[in-house]
Subunit: 481 residues, 4 copies
C-alpha cells in the first residue's frame, strides 16, 4: 500500500511548510517538494488543505463498566468516532475493581479492545494496594508497554485512592520510570456535599456542579502535586477544568516541579448553565466529573494551553444514553458520569482555538497530538510527520464547515453536547496506518484494524527526575561518640 | 487593691500616647494625663517605659501527656515563665485520647490548670468523631466558654484528624459559632518519610526536618483551607512556619476567605542548621513540629506579620528535658516534640522585630496580644488598654537588656533555644489582674491566682460568615413535569 | 452644647456594644451604659440604631478647575451632600498648575473651602518640580498640616508626573514624614490609545474605557510601588479599580512593603456597560478616570477590602452637569472626567457590602472612616468613638430604606449614577462637631461651620520605614591600597 | 566537502537517538543508522559523544563602541571564541547613536562583521524616534533580514527609550511582523541611585549592584510587558536576571500574552558577592548590567528555564580589559559595562544544568539553540538536526573535562569570570557550515567564513497575534440621533 498526499501544507507542532507525503506500509517514507505519483496505490490531492499528525486522545473510556451500567460506545464505535474526527489513537483506561488482580483486568480490557479500528493503548488505574499490585505494576511496565498509572482521588466507597495509596504507587512509578496520573477531586468533600444536597432534597442535575465545586478539584490537585514533589515524581493531571487548578500547576512548575496538565474540549467550550436546563434529560446528559464550570474558567484554560501550563487536550469520552442517564432520575448521584466528545475534539479546538486567534496552527497540533505522544513516550512514532513515523495523519480542510449533531455523529449515544454548533475547519480525510480510514463523512476502516501500542518507560523528562531526587536525599550527621 | 502606673507611654495596637493608668480590683478604671496618687496602694514610675497590654500566648502545652511522657512545665511553672516574659494569659489545649469523652478530658485539664498563676483558657482537640463528640462540642461552647477546636492533621496512628473528621467538625463549628484550628502537616507523608529515613538508617535528629519538609505543611494547610472554604467556615492555622503556607493563606484571603495564621517566636528567629549540630542532645532539643526551616523562611514570616497574612504569634511551649529527649536516642521519631519559649516570646519579637524596623510598636502589641484576643473573642476584656479592660499589662523597658539563658529562665526545662542571645527591650514589670506579678527578675504571684477565661462564640468575623455561606446554598431547579 | 445619644449600639472598627454617648463642645466626653439626660441640650433616641464614627472621604474635588470648566459642587454644596450621607470630613486636593507656586495654590484652595459645612483637609499635588517645590513641601508639612502629596501619572501635557518627578518628590516625602499618593494610569499609553481611537473615528464615551484599560492602571501602580520600594517610602494608591492593581499591591505587601489602597464606592457597584448606553449623555455622565470596569473586577475589590489589601473607600467626587459633559460631544477626550458620589458612599457600602455579608459592621467602619484617619494620621481625633475624640458621628438606621435619585440628592449636579437603586441602611442623623448636622433628609448646618484639620507628619507606619530603609543603605568596600 | 559523523547520539530539543550524519556543501543531507564512508571528505568518530545543533547566542556585542571605548573582542576574536565553545551563530546588535540614520548604522555594523568566522545576524536598536526611523525599520525588515528591534530602558541621557518611543516602535513592529526586545531597567531610578551613591562617596564597584537592584529590572519589564499587551505585540526580554522579573513574565503569560525571556549563563552561576572583592579590578571585571544578583535568584532562573518561562540563554558578551575597566577607577558609573562569556555558555549550562539534573539533554538543546532559532524565525535552518538544515553542529563529549581560564580562552580579554571552574562536558568538535571549525582546543576556521543570516518577519507566534489584537479593537456605539 503506497498512499501519496500531494499539494498540501504540512503543519507540525513546530513547522509549517508545503510538501508531498508518501506513506508506505503504514509509515511515512518520503516528505518532499514533489513526489512523483509513480507506483502509488492511491493519491490524495490536498490542495488548500493542511496535513497534520492524527489526533491522540489520551483520555477515553470505551465500554467502561461504571456506576451500574456500561458506557455505550465500545471500542468499535468509539474508535470509529475518533477516526471520523481526525483522531488516530486513543489511550483508554484499565480500571480494576478494588481487590481485582491488575493483570487480569488488563487482559480483560485488551480483549474488549480487539475490535478497535484505530491504534490504542492503556493507562492502568490503581484502585487498591498490596504487594501484588506493586509487583503487577512492574510486569505491566516491563512486559505490556504500560508507562502510566491512574489514581482517582474521588469516588469514595468505590475506587478512590487515599493518600497512603498514592504515596505507595507514586513511589513505585519512580522505580519503574512510569508516570502517575490523577483524577483530582477531594472524594470526602464530594461525598459530604452530595449527602448535604440530598438531605435538603436537591436531587436534580443542578446539584451535580454544587457537589463538585472548583476548590474540590484544586485541593486534590495540590495534594497530588505535593505528594509527587515530596517523592520526586513527575505527575500528569487529567481533565483540569478550573482556573484554581491551573494556579496550583503553575505554582509547582515555578518551583521546578515537572507537572503536566490535560484539559477537555468540552470544558473549553461549554459552561455550567447547562445544569439549569428545564429539561431534566438535557441537564443530565451533561453530568460528568469534573462538571462544567462558570464561563470565566474557559479563558483560563485557553491561556493554560497557550502558556504551556496545560500540554494536552482530551475528551474523557464516556458515553451514556438517555435510558442510562435516567438511572439517576431521583438522585443525581446515580446519574452515570460521562459525555461523548471523541469525534468533535479537533474540530472544537480548531474552531474555538485557531479560528479565534487563541492558538497558532502549530500549537493546535501540539495540544491535540504531539505533546501527548511526548509525555506518554511514543514520540516520534506518533504525533510527528517525519520519515519512519507511523502514517497517522489528518488532512484538514480549514474552510469547510460542519454542523455538529447527534444526527451525523459516529458515537452510538443519543445526544450531542455540541448540538447545532457550526464548525469551520474539519477533517477531510483521516489516514491511519497509511490508509484512508475516514473520508468526507464515511468511516472506511475494518473492525480490528487498530493496533495496541506499547509505551516504554523513562520518557525524556525522567532522566533528570532521579538525579534531582537524589539531591534531596538525607545523610546522617556524623556525631561525636 | 489600687495600682497606679505613672509617667509611662501607653502603646496599644493602634495608638501611642502618654498617660497614667489606674488599676482597681483587677480592671483598668482610669487613663488620664495625670492621676493623683491619693488612696493608691502601689505606684509604679514608668518613666522611659512603655505600658502595653500583657501578652496572650494562644498556643501552649503545659504538662501535656505526649509521646509516652509528660511535658515538664506544669501550669504553675509554665505560667510563671509566661508572667516573667510579660505574658498574662495563655490558651492551652485539651487533647482527648481517641475515644475519650471530650468533657471528661476537659475537666481533667481544668483540674491540672488550677495551679495556674496567670489567666488561661482551652482550645479542645477533635481527635475522633461520633455523635457524642458532636454533642459535647455544643456543651463546651454553651456551658464551658470554649470557642475553638483543634485538629491535628499529622500524628498518624495517634490523634490525626482525617478529612471526613474535619468536614464533620468544621460543619459543627459553624453551627456553634466556634472556630476550627489546625495543625497542618500531611500525616501520611510524614509517616512515609519517617519510615523511609529509618530504613536508610538515618535515625538522628537531622532526619526530623527531612521527614517534615515545608510542602508537607503547605499541602495540609491548603487542604484545611479548602475544606473550610467549601463549608463556609473561618479557619485558624497554628504555627505557620513555611513561606509556602503563607502563599496558601494569601491565595485564600485574596478570594475572600477568612483565614487566620499564627507563627511562633522560635520559627521567626531560629533556622534548621540546629539539626546539624554535632551534639545529639543539642540537635534533639530543637525537635518540634513543624521543624525549624531554612533561613529564608524567616523573612517570609516577618513579612506575613507586617502585611496581615499572619495575625498572631505564639510559642507552642511544650518543654521536655534531656532525659525525655533521650527516649529517641536511637530513633528520631521517638524524640518528644517540643521546645520551651513562653517566657522569651515578647523579648524575641521586640528585639528582632521592633528594634530592626520590621514592626512598629503598635504592630508588636497587635501580634503579641490584641489580635489573639479579637480572634478568640475576648477583646477588649483582654488585649486592650481601656477603661474596664482587665488590668493585664506589661511595663516594657525598651533600653534594658538581658541575656537569655537556661540559667535565668523560669521554665523547668534544662535547655534554652535562645541561649546566649542578648535582648534589648525587656519586661520591667508584669501586671496581672491589677497586681504586680513579676518585677525585674522575680515572679511575685501566688499559685492558683490565674482565672479560667470563658470565650464566647460568634466572634466579629462570624456575623457575615453565615450570610456569605447562605449565598452559596443551592436551590433545586424547577423543571417541567 | 451638650448632645446625648441614648439607647444605640456603638459600632467601631473593632467593637460592637450598647452604650450612651455624650457630646460636649464638639468632643465626646462620656460613653456609658446609661447617661442621665440632665443638663443636656438635646437628646437623640437611637433605639434600634447604630452609632458609628462619621465617614471620612479621603478623595473629593470640590469646585475643581479641570478640563476647561469647574466642578459644579463647591465646598458648600459638596460638604452638605457629604453630611447628608453620614460623612463628616473630606480630604480634598490642592492641584497647582505646573509652575504655580505651591503655597499660593494652597491658600487659593483654603479660601474656597471657607464655605465648608464639615471638616476638611487637603492633599497637595506635585505637578512640576524645582527647588521651590521641594522647599514649599516642607512649609506645607511643618506649618500647614499637610502630610500627603499627590502625583498624577496620567494627563499627559497637563499635570502628569514623570518618573524623575516622582523620585524627587517621594524622596522629599520621606525626609518630611509625609506620604506620597498616586493616581496610577500610564499617561503615555492613555494618550496613544486616545489618539488611536480618534483616528479611527471612535469619538463617543464608549471609547473612554478603551483608552484606559486595566493594564494601563496596573502598570502605573506597579511603577509607583517600585519607585516607593526603591526609595523606602510608604505609598497610598487612590481609586484602585482593577483586579490587576490589587495583584500589584499584594505582591508588594507580601514582600514587606507598606502600600495602602483606596477604592471608590462607584467602582464597587457599577460596571462598564454604562458606556454602551444609547443615550450619549447617560454614557458621558459616567466618564471618570479610571473608568468603570467589567463586572468581575467588583468582587476583586470587595475581596481587597475584606482581606486588607485595600484599606479605604472614597468617592473622587467631582461633579459635572450635562452642559459641562457636552463639551466632549464630538470628542470623548474633552468630556470632563468625574462623577458625584460623596452623599451615597456609606449607603452603597452598607447596602452592597454589609447586607450581602461581604463585610462585617466593624469592617464597614474601618473602610469608611477609621482606616483613613489612621493612614492620614488624625486618629483617634477622627474615625473613633472614644473619650476626647471629635464628636463626628453617624447614627445609622439599618432597617430604613431610601431610593437614591437626582431628585433627593444634595449635590448640585443633574445626574445620579445610582439612580433608582434602593438602599437598606441609611443615616438617620449625622452629628458633626457635637451638633446635629443632618437629620432624616434635612441638612441643618451653617455654611462655614467646617474646620480645617491639621494632619501631622510621621504617622505610625513611618516610625519603622526609616529604620528599614537604613538597612538597605550601602557601604563602601574597604579595599587594599 | 562531505563530512560524515559516525557513531554518535543525536540530541535535539525533543529527541535522543543514535544515527550517523552526513553534511554536504554546508547542509545536512543524510541522517541514518549507518552511512557508508564512501566518497566522504572527512569522517569524525563520535563514539560516546553527543551530536547537537550548534549553539545560537542571541545576545552579543562584538567591538561595540560603548561608554567611551570599544569592546575588545571584534567579530573575528569574538566568533572564534563562540566556535571554541560550540556556538555556531550569534545575533549581535546594531546600536545607532541617537539621531543617527538606522541604515547607516546597519551598514557600519555589517562592515565590521565581515571578519566573522561563524554565522551572524543583527538586532537593531531603537534609540530615538522620528518618521525616518519608522521608514527605516520597514527597509530593514523587508530588505535586510532584520526581524527584531531592541529598546534600552536604561542609560538615561544616552540611548534610553522612553515610553512614548516604545509605544511608537512596538506599534511599528506589529505592522512589520517584527518582534520588539527590551533591556529592562528603569533608567530614571538607576540614575537617581547612582547619583545618590556618589553623593555619599560610595564610588567603587560595590555600588554598581546597589544602583540597579532587582526591582529596577522587574519594574521596567512589567512596563514593557504592559505596553506590549496594550498594543497587542509579542515581546522578548533580554538578560532576565531577577526572580521578580520572572514573576512579571509569568503573570503576563498566565493572562494569555506572548512574552519570551532570555537569561545569561553568567547570571545562572555567579552571584553578587563578586562586587565585595577586595581587589578593585576583580570586582570591576564583573560590572555588567543587570548586575550579578544574590544567590537565591539563580534557582529561580533555572526553574524559569525548566518551566518554559524563559526560553533562551545568551551571554551579552561584551568584553573590556583591565585598562578599559580602569576608566571607572574613581567613579563606578564610568566602568564599561560588560563581561566575556560567549565561549563558556554551553559548558556552563551543561555542567551546572544537565549534570545537576536541572535540565534534560533535550532541554539543553532547546535553551541553547532551538528556541532562539524559533523565536527569531530561522528554524529549522538553524537549531535543528534535519535534512536540509544548515550543518552547524557541536559534537559534545559529556565525560571530558576542562578548567575554564583566561589562559586557554579565545576571547582577547584579560579576565575570565569562570576562572578555575572545572567543566564536565565540553565541545570536542564544532562543525560550522559542514566543516570542522573547532577541534579539541583549536579553532580551524578562516576569517570571514561566517555568513550574514537573513531573518524573515512573521514568526509562528505572529500569525495569531494580529487576530487576537483585532478582537480588542473598539467599535463606535450606534446612538440615537
Amino acid at each position: 500500500m503506497r498512499l501519496l498526499i500531494k499539494n498540501g501544507q504540512i503543519i507540525t507542532h513546530e513547522q509549517s511548510y508545503f510538501a508531498d507525503v508518501l506513506c508506505e506500509d503504514g509509515v511515512i517514507t518520503q516528505i518532499n517538494d514533489h513526489i512523483p505519483d509513480e507506483n502509488v496505490t492511491e493519491v490524495i490531492d490536498a490542495q488548500g488543505m493542511l496535513i497534520m499528525p492524527g489526533g491522540i486522545d489520551p483520555h477515553t473510556h470505551m465500554q467502561l463498566p461504571f456506576m451500574g451500567t456500561v458506557a455505550i460506545d465500545d471500542f468499535e464505535s468509539g474508535t470509529k468516532a475518533a477516526l471520523a474526527g481526525g483522531t488516530t489513537m486513543i489511550i483508554d483506561f484499565v480500571i480494576p475493581n478494588p481487590q481485582q488482580n491488575l493483570l487480569e483486568a488488563y487482559h480483560q480490557w485488551r480483549g474488549w479492545a480487539e475490535k478497535a479500528t484505530c491504534d490504542y493503548s492503556f493507562h492502568v488505574a490503581i484502585t487498591w494496594w498490596d504487594d501484588s499490585v506493586s509487583r503487577d505494576m512492574q510486569t505491566l511496565v516491563e512486559k505490556h508497554g504500560v508507562n502510566s498509572f491512574k489514581h482517582f482521588m474521588a469516588y469514595k466507597n468505590a475506587i478512590m485512592a487515599t493518600d497512603d495509596m498514592m504515596i505507595a504507587s507514586f513511589s513505585r512509578c519512580i522505580e519503574l520510570g512510569a508516570i502517575p496520573t490523577v483524577h483530582a477531586e477531594n472524594g470526602e468533600l464530594v461525598y459530604h456535599l452530595q449527602q448535604s444536597l440530598l438531605e435538603r432534597n436537591i436531587t436534580g442535575p443542578e446539584a451535580h456542579p454544587l457537589s463538585r465545586p472548583p476548590i474540590v478539584e484544586s485541593e486534590a490537585a495540590n495534594r497530588a502535586i505535593s505528594i509527587a514533589d515530596t517523592l520526586g515524581s513527575p505527575l500528569y493531571l487529567v481533565h483540569v477544568s478550573a482556573s484554581q487548578t491551573l494556579d496550583a500547576i503553575r505554582y509547582a512548575t515555578e518551583n521546578g516541579q515537572r507537572v503536566f496538565g490535560e484539559c477537555l474540549a468540552a470544558h473549553l467550550t461549554i459552561d455550567d448553565s447547562v445544569y439549569q436546563d428545564k429539561n431534566w434529560l438535557h441537564a443530565a446528559a451533561h453530568v460528568m466529573s469534573p462538571p462544567f464550570r462558570p464561563k470565566n474558567h474557559q479563558q483560563a484554560l485557553w491561556n493554560g494551553l497557550k502558556s504551556g501550563a496545560l500540554q494536552t487536550t482530551a475528551t474523557d469520552h464516556c458515553a451514556f444514553c438517555a435510558e442510562q442517564k435516567s438511572m439517576g432520575k431521583n438522585d443525581f448521584t446515580n446519574i452515570p458520569n460521562g459525555v461523548s466528545s471523541v469525534e468533535e475534539r479537533l474540530m472544537v479546538l480548531w474552531n474555538n482555538g485557531v479560528n479565534t486567534g487563541q492558538l497558532t496552527m502549530n500549537e493546535f497540533v501540539a495540544v491535540t497530538s504531539t505533546n501527548a505522544a511526548k509525555i506518554f513516550n511514543i514520540y516520534p512514532r506518533k504525533g510527528a510527520i517525519q520519515i519512519n513515523a507511523d502514517a497517522d495523519l489528518v488532512i484538514w480542510d480549514p474552510k469547510a464547515t460542519k454542523v455538529l449533531s447527534v444526527i451525523n455523529q459516529h458515537s452510538k449515544v443519543d445526544f450531542n453536547i455540541y448540538e447545532g454548533m457550526t464548525m469551520t475547519g474539519i477533517p477531510a480525510y483521516t489516514i491511519a496506518a497509511g490508509e484512508v480510514a475516514y473520508q468526507r463523512g464515511e468511516v472506511l476502516v475494518k473492525v480490528g484494524k487498530g493496533k495496541y501500542i506499547n509505551r516504554p518507560p523513562y520518557a525524556s523528562y525522567y532522566q533528570t527526575i532521579e538525579q534531582s531526587h537524589q539531591r534531596k536525599v538525607a545523610k546522617a550527621v556524623k556525631r561525636d561518640q
